[in-house]
């Protein structure tokens, strides 16, 4: 992805991320474009890891950023943008997984193959991936933030807007759920 870092730097130079959020909140589209460019890589990786499907992740990220643009005037504290946006992303991921489940039950066309199930649509899925697919969106997100993005628990708590102890507990529960899902695999 050689072009994106240059582009991000170019757009953010001279303005802090928080200032960009403030400008975007007032309706500055270019500032919002810079916000997107600045956060895009991490957000897309998060969505891809949570959903295990690049196409779905692209849709989800698109929807989440559009939702963010629409609702940005309601964000009171620009410093809380990341936590606020993570919540939007989590909600969109939750919707996508619900829709994926529903699509398994929907009737299909004349010769359409059945929709892939939640586990099988990840090519070459390992048992661990299969187990991960059984986790809730909240559990997936906290594991992705901590293990994929190496986010310290303190930052994780701040982004999720929860106390440090709660963050530790949720991370522990997510790991336990992953292990439990592994053990339940056939």
């Amino acid at each position: 992805m050689p072009a994106a870092p240059e582009m991000r730097n170019a757009t953010v130079v001279g303005r802090s991320f928080e200032h960009l959020v403030i400008s975007a909140r007032k309706g500055d589209r270019d500032a919002f474009a810079s916000v997107v460019e600045e956060r895009f890589d991490r957000v897309f990786r998060t969505a891809t890891a949570m959903l295990g499907n690049e196409a779905d992740a692209r849709d989800i990220v698109q929807e989440a950023f559009l939702k963010a643009w629409q609702q940005l005037p309601k964000l009171r504290d620009p410093a809380r943008f990341d936590g606020w946006f993570n919540q939007l992303l989590r909600n969109r991921c939750r919707d996508a997984l619900r829709e994926r489940r529903r699509s398994r039950e929907a009737p299909f066309g004349f010769d359409d193959p059945p929709a892939p199930d939640l586990i099988g649509d990840v090519a070459g899925a390992t048992d661990l991936e299969a187990a991960f697919e059984r986790l809730s969106v909240d559990q997936r997100q906290i594991l992705v933030m901590h293990h994929l993005h190496d986010m310290p628990i303190r930052d994780l708590a701040r982004q999720l807007g929860i106390p440090l102890g709660t963050a530790k507990w949720r991370l522990h529960r997510a790991r336990r759920a992953l292990i439990g899902a592994m053990e339940d695999l056939p």
């Binding site: 895009f40 690049e54 559009l66 661990l128």
Partner: protein
């Protein structure tokens, strides 16, 4: 089953799941972001916006004045290599058709095809312009699920009433609206394309692809569509008997009555999109994202797969020249920069339309002029026409009403096909 899981195991697994993210350029994903409906007066209003508007108007007036003064002293450019007219596009307030032959420095007065779109400015929500092969019918879609910022306003209500698919008969001026299966206030359809014979519209309305007969309104289900299809997920064969459809990683050819469906390409995991039939109907060009992706062509029966641009996941929008000898696309070519590339249909002789330009962001699909010697495209906020002789693209219109700085996937213009007996210039 009793298994130990370490933190490293989890990290490895998550990195594996997110691996594609490394391969997908920002621009490639952002191109899916359509024009947002954030033109609500409340959002953009306020004193700072008014001041900025006044400033911009003053600046524009000064620039126009300067350009007119300059144009007065300069001789007219030669007109031996002028592009044809009939270039339809949405300027944010209307669908218009312009004469791209206006000399630089002069402003052509576009012909209004569809006035006062979806409630008028500032509701720039028109997509998927396409012409029938005889240049008589122009189809487009209107409406967006993202759009309801102020649903109580009159303009929003008008936009809701105008949502759906439309076909304009340019001969009679009659417009026909189609809202099949719509149960929501805003009837939104994706990838709307009129058949070359002008008889049908193909479209995606999740979770299915459909074809509707324009005369009878009868619809045919063509099978499952992605939840949010890419902007160009459908392509008609030139004889209007088959369609190329995208379903995430698959490219399929489906008969217009839905009776046959053949998967002609399946990447397995990488997203496939932007199918385009060659003018003879023998091959289909398409884009594949992810590592090992790029532009490919395949015969309509699934044989003869060729990768003609192994540029990775950054290539999109392949379009055939009218004679089928060349393909233009957006992405990175073999050289530096990004933007529109033109190559022979076998992948050789690729060259950038604008060398060393990093201009793939916010760019529509390139559209060939009927004579094959010009390309039109919308980039960021402006409509351009470029000759293939290496000269700089000509600015046709700055689409200032078209959504400010947040236009990442501008709808492509649509060049009217040459009419029978009309010489391509």
């Amino acid at each position: 089953m009793n298994r130990q899981i370490s933190n490293d195991d989890i990290k490895r697994m998550l990195r594996h799941r997110a691996r594609h993210a490394d391969d997908v350029a920002l621009a490639e994903v952002l191109r899916l972001l359509a024009v947002t409906p954030q033109e609500e007066a409340g959002r953009l209003g306020g004193l700072p916006a008014i001041r900025a508007l006044v400033l911009v108007m003053l600046l524009a007036a000064a620039l126009i004045g300067g350009a007119l003064l300059l144009g007065y002293w300069l001789p007219d450019p030669p007109d031996s290599t002028l592009p044809p007219d009939g270039l339809a596009y949405s300027n944010g307030c209307a669908v218009v058709s312009t004469d791209a032959r206006a000399p630089s420095g002069e402003t052509a007065v576009p012909e209004t095809l569809v006035p006062r779109l979806v409630g008028g400015c500032p509701w720039p929500i028109v997509y998927d312009l396409s012409w029938s092969a005889d240049g008589r019918f122009l189809s487009y879609s209107s409406g967006s699920g993202f759009f309801c910022g102020g649903c109580g306003s009159e303009s929003a209500q008008q936009a809701i009433r105008d949502s759906g698919m439309w076909v304009l008969d340019t001969e009679t001026g009659q417009r026909s609206q189609f809202q099949p299966g719509c149960t929501t206030p805003i009837c939104s359809y994706d990838s709307v394309v009129i058949s070359p014979d002008g008889g049908r519209l193909a479209y995606a309305s999740a979770p299915f692809y459909w074809v509707i007969d324009i005369a009878t309104g009868v619809t045919v289900n063509l099978g499952t569509a992605p939840r949010v299809p890419a902007s160009a997920a459908i392509a008609w064969s030139p004889d209007s008997t088959r369609l190329a459809l995208i379903d995430n990683s698959k490219l399929s050819v489906v008969s217009v009555d839905g009776s046959t469906r053949t998967t002609v390409f399946d990447s397995g995991t990488s997203a496939v999109r932007d199918p385009a039939w060659s003018p003879t109907g023998q091959r289909i060009a398409f884009a594949v994202s992810g590592s090992g992706g790029g532009i490919r062509t395949v015969r309509a029966d699934g044989s003869g797969l060729v990768t003609i641009d192994p540029a990775g996941g950054s290539a999109a929008h392949p379009t055939w020249s009218p004679d089928g000898r060349r393909i233009a696309y957006v992405g990175r070519g073999p050289g530096a920069g990004s933007g529109i590339w033109v190559m022979s249909a076998d992948g050789s002789e690729a060259r950038a339309l604008e060398p060393d330009c990093s201009c793939a962001i916010s760019m529509s699909a390139p559209v060939w002029a009927p004579g094959g010697d010009y390309l039109a495209f919308v980039r960021r906020h402006s409509l351009y026409v470029a000759a293939l002789d290496g000269s700089a693209p000509r600015l046709i219109e700055s689409l200032q009403t078209f959504g400010g700085g947040f236009v990442w996937t501008p709808p492509a213009p649509a060049w009217r096909p040459a009419l029978p007996g009309e010489a391509a210039e």
